[in-house]
Amino acid sequence: MPSYKLTYFNGRGTAEIVRLVFAAAGTEYEDVRLEQDQWPELKPNTPMGQLPILEMDGTMLCQSNSIARYIAKLAGLAGKTPLDQARVDMVMDGMVDMGNKFAYEIYYEKDEDKKAEKKKDYVEKYVPQFFSSLNKLASDGGYFAGDELTLADIAFYNMVTMVNPYLEQPLSLDGFPNLEKVVDNVTSNPGIAKWLKERPETPY
């Protein structure tokens, strides 16, 4: 089996989805966390000048979702059929949209009034509508594709828990029973449960 080396900063950020997939897959990997002052030297030697990167057998992959999908595929967590894989991909992409919307409209907004207004809109209008769509896409057993845990379920859990610390209260899953089940399925996966207990506490 190849040796995997994941490099990112000392935070969850865009690397955490990869770490969660490694955990669910039970695959060993080296979890390298750079200090900010180590980054300038590495940056030109990365494929696109960004982290995370995954190194294995002399190859380097970048782009967190591409890395996550690659590891998930090897572990059978990317969807069992081509259509299931497409379902997994569309949910992952939807979660990226949800995260990007938060980042660009709220996190990076400098005007405090606009920021508060956008946050209100996000929590009261956008998220409930998006969760309503996602609840329909998830089965009542709590899976976005097929009847087993996939990368889509992990992506949902990861993005929601990524955004929550920046809000006054965690996003509510009331009225979205399938999504509550998705979260249960993710957090009760033995590999993920172990990782959630052991992972370093970091500001982001």
Binding site: T59, L61, R69, L83, M90
Partner: protein
């Protein structure tokens, strides 16, 4: 018999075009449905998985998110990459191209007084980005990954066609990338599609 695949989008290239190029390159039949934003979209929107188009309907399932659709069609047409690793490399190159696509689209979307600033941002971003892509491009000239056409080549062709409108000489000194711009339209299915596809603003 109706085609197995039905893609619904507006009458634009935009986010649906890479998938149309995939279908064309493989000669795979599909229904290319183009809806009107004003009269048809409001009724369709609540019946889509995430309130967005494009969507792809296949075997009673509806898939949304343009890259998820494209990756599925790429796999169906054998254009996703031949091994798990090649597929990951295709995926990462397409993901990265999203940034280039975004900077180029920002010009179009910007108000008149902001357009020049957006053009400058593209001009500042593109050279380094493309230099890296030239380095990432595999050893087989004309193909970003592996030795045959993949989704990554089609996506690159689609985005670069637009970028070249603003920065015409930008890949003149990047021979592997320049070769991709030749290889893609040399595919017969793509060439036929490029000749007959509807003219649209973007």
């Amino acid at each position: 018999m109706a085609p197995r695949y039905r893609m619904i989008y507006f009458n634009l290239r935009a986010r649906a075009e890479p998938t149309r190029l995939l279908f064309a390159a493989a000669g795979l039949q599909y229904e290319d449905v183009r809806i009107r934003r004003d009269t048809e979209w409001p009724a369709l929107k609540p019946n889509t998985p995430m309130g967005q188009v494009p969507v792809l309907e296949v075997d009673g399932v509806t898939i949304c998110q343009s890259n998820a659709i494209a990756r599925y069609v790429a796999k169906e047409t054998g254009l996703a990459g031949k091994t798990n690793l090649e597929q990951a490399q295709v995926d990462m190159l397409v993901d990265g191209m999203g940034d280039l696509r975004g900077k180029q689209a920002a010009i179009r979307k910007a108000s008149e007084d902001k357009k020049d600033q957006c053009k400058e941002e593209l001009a500042a971003f593109a050279p380094n980005f493309l230099r890296r892509y030239e380095e990432l491009s595999g050893p087989h000239a004309g193909h970003l990954v592996g030795d045959s056409l993949t989704w990554a080549d089609l996506e690159f062709y689609d985005v670069m066609t637009k970028v070249l409108m603003y920065l015409p000489g930008i890949i003149d000194n990047l021979p592997k990338l320049a070769k991709v711009m030749d290889t893609v339209p040399a595919n017969k299915g793509v060439a036929d599609w490029l000749a007959k596809r509807p003219e649209t603003p973007h």
